[in-house]
Symmetry: C2
Subunit: 410 residues, 2 copies
Amino acid sequence: MAKINENYLKLQAGYLFPEIGRRVNEFQKANPGAEIIRMGIGDVTMPLVPSVINAFHEGVDEMSKPETFKGYGPEQGYEFLRNAIAENDYQSRGVDIGPEDIFVSDGSKCDTGNIQEIFSAESKIAITDPVYPVYADTTVMSGKTGNVASNGYFNGIIYLPCTEENHFVPDIPKERPDIIFLCYPNNPTGATATKQELKKWVDYALDNKSIILYDAAYEAYITEDHIPHSIYEIEGAQKVAIEFRSFSKKAGFTGTRCAFTVIPKEVMAFTHKGEPKPLHALWYRRHTTKFNGVSYPVQKAAAAIYTKQGKKEVQEVIDYYMENARIMCENLYEKGFKVFGGKNAPYVWTSPPKKIKSWDLFDKLLKEAHVVGTPGSGFGPSGEGYFRFSAFAPRKNVIEAMNRLKKLDL
Amino acid sequence: MAKINENYLKLQAGYLFPEIGRRVNEFQKANPGAEIIRMGIGDVTMPLVPSVINAFHEGVDEMSKPETFKGYGPEQGYEFLRNAIAENDYQSRGVDIGPEDIFVSDGSKCDTGNIQEIFSAESKIAITDPVYPVYADTTVMSGKTGNVASNGYFNGIIYLPCTEENHFVPDIPKERPDIIFLCYPNNPTGATATKQELKKWVDYALDNKSIILYDAAYEAYITEDHIPHSIYEIEGAQKVAIEFRSFSKKAGFTGTRCAFTVIPKEVMAFTHKGEPKPLHALWYRRHTTKFNGVSYPVQKAAAAIYTKQGKKEVQEVIDYYMENARIMCENLYEKGFKVFGGKNAPYVWTSPPKKIKSWDLFDKLLKEAHVVGTPGSGFGPSGEGYFRFSAFAPRKNVIEAMNRLKKLDL
C-alpha cells in the first residue's frame, strides 16, 4: 500500500500567497467594478529592461540554428553567467567567491526549500519570526518538526523573534540550532543587518558547527554603504554559510525564473560520526541528479544584467521602486502608522495607529480601499498586528493607494 | 552541529552522464584532433522548430512592455498551455484528463526525482533493471534504501529485471512494492509495452493500492498504432498512476526546459491508519511551496507545439531522428549485433557479436572509432554487456559512426 509523507498533513491552511489570491479573487468576483491595487505579493511590475530583452532574443535565435543550438547545458549553469556573477556580485566587492562556488537555478524559492534535503532529517532548524513562509513550510514537509502548537509555532523549530525591540535582527537563542535561516535585507520586515550583527551569527556558527542559510534576494535594494550585500563580507562565513540570490527582484525575473546559490567548498557539515563533508559536493550531486539546468535563453538574458548598459538599466528600475517605498513610508508615517524598512529593501513593514489583527486589516483594506497588502501574521506569530506593503507597483497605484488609505478610519 | 543527509554517501560514483562526459573530455584533451561523434547522452541535436521560435520571441516581447509583462505565473502552469496539453495529448485520444490534472514544470528529471517526497520514507520502491538512473539515485537519496550490494543492487529497492526473455517488460515481483516506476517507450532499451502488458500492472496496482509512476517522455516516438501513448489509456489507471511527460525529446526542449506531470484527482495514497489522501493535493502543495512555475516565454514556446503548423514541424524532426534509428538498427544488425528498440523510441539497445563488458566497449568505441555511446551497465546490472545508441544526431554523423563501427573487431 502506497503511503503518503504525513508531514504534509501538519501544514496549516494554504500557503500565504495563494490564500491572498483566493480572497482577492473572491472579492473581485463579487465587486467586478472595484479597481483593486495589489501591493500584497512581492511581485515586480516593471518589464524586463532592454539589455535583458535583447540578450533574451539573441538566446532564442541561437536555439533556431543547428550551429548555435543548445541542448542540455551544464546543470550548474553556463560558465559565462557564473563568471559574470562571481566577478560582479562578489570579486568587485572584495569577496573571494569563484564561478565554481555558484549553482545557477530557476529560483531561490526552489533552492531554499530543496537545500534542506542535503541535511539530516534530525537537524534542528532555526528561523526568524516573522519569516518568509517557505523556510518554515519546507522544514515541516521534510519531517524536521512535530505538530503545530496553538500559538502557530511548530514543535521542533527554533523560532527567533524579530521585533521592534531587537530592530528585527534576532538574538542568539538558548537552544542550539544546527541550521539557521537568515534573510537580509529582510522579507517581510525590510530590516537590514549590519556587519557586526552578522558577525555575531557567523561566530556562533563557527563555534557551534552550525550552518547559516543566508537569503540575500533583496541585496540589490541596499542604498546605505555600510550594509553588507553578502554574508561572505563577514570573516569566516565562507566556512559556515550558504548564500541564496535571485534575479527575481533584482532584475524583474519573477516570471522569467533565474537565481543562484553559492556554496564555497570549505563549508562542511558532518556525519553522525563527526566526519566533515563538503556541502558543495552534496548539492552538486543533488543538482546533477534532480535538476537539469536553467533554460539557455534565460541564462543569456540574466548575464546581460552584468553588462555596463544592463547595470544602468536595472539600477533605474530599482530606483523607481525605492522611490515608491519612500512615498509609502512618508504617507504611512503621516497617517500615524509605525513604519519600518523601505530604505534598503522594497518592503515597508508597518502597524496602524489603532491595534487590529493583520488579517482583519487585510480584509478592511481590501473591502474599504480596494488595496491589497500582506498580513504580517501570515509570516509568523510575531508578525501579528503588522502589515507588509510592497514597493513593486506602478507609481500612480502607490499614490492612489496612499490617498485611499488616508480616508480610512485606522 | 549540522549533520548531512548520509543517504547521499550510499550513492555510487558519479551520475552516469557526467561520468561519460568526464571520459570523453579526457580523451578529447589527449587527442585534440579526434572527431568525436556523440551518441551517448540522449540529447537532441536539431534546433527548435520555427513555430516554437516565433512563439518564444513573442513571449520575450511581451516581457518588454508593462501592459503585457508577466511576473509570477500560476505555479501549476499557464492555463493556455495546460489546456493545449489536455486537448491534444489526452482528450484527442479519448483519455479523460483535464487541465486541472496537469502540473507544468521545468523538467521530468526534476519531477520524477521530487515526486518521491510526497510519499512516506518507508515506501518500497520497484524499479526496472536496466533503468534511467534518476529513479534509483533519488530513491537512495530520499532514504528509502540500505547500502549497495556487490551486484550493484541497493538493499531495499525491488528490482524488476528487463531482459530479452521478457521483451524488456518486467514481470510482477514476489515482494510487494508500494510504488512502481515504469517507463515506456523505454529508456534505455527502446522497448514498448502493449495495452495488455500495462493492464497487468494497473490491475496489480489497483489490487495492492500501489502507485505507478509512469514516465512517458518518449511517447512522441511511437510509430505503431497499437502501442499506448499514455498509461491513462488503460482502464483504472486514473486511480493509481501518475504520468510524466516532457517537451525535451518531443520538441527539442532539452536546453529550453519544459515538461509536465499528470495527477488525476482520484489517485490516492494512504496514511499509516489507512485513510486515503489525494496525491494531487500533496503535489499541489509541494509545487506551490517549492517551485515558482516555468518561465513565461518558455511556456508560450511550448504551447506552439500544439498548433497545426507546430505539430507538422515537430513531427518532421521526430521522423528525422527515427530515420537515424532505422539506419542504426540496419547497420548494427548487419555487423552481427543483437538489436532492440529503435522502432517506437529514439534509442537502440544492442549487444555486440563478441561478449564484452559495457564500459570496456565504451572505451573501445571511444578510442578506436571516436564514437560515444552509453554503456548498458550504467543503467543497472541487467544492462551489463549491452550498449545504448541514441538516434539524436545529425544524419551524417550516424552514417559516419556506423561506417567506423563496421571496421572494428567486435
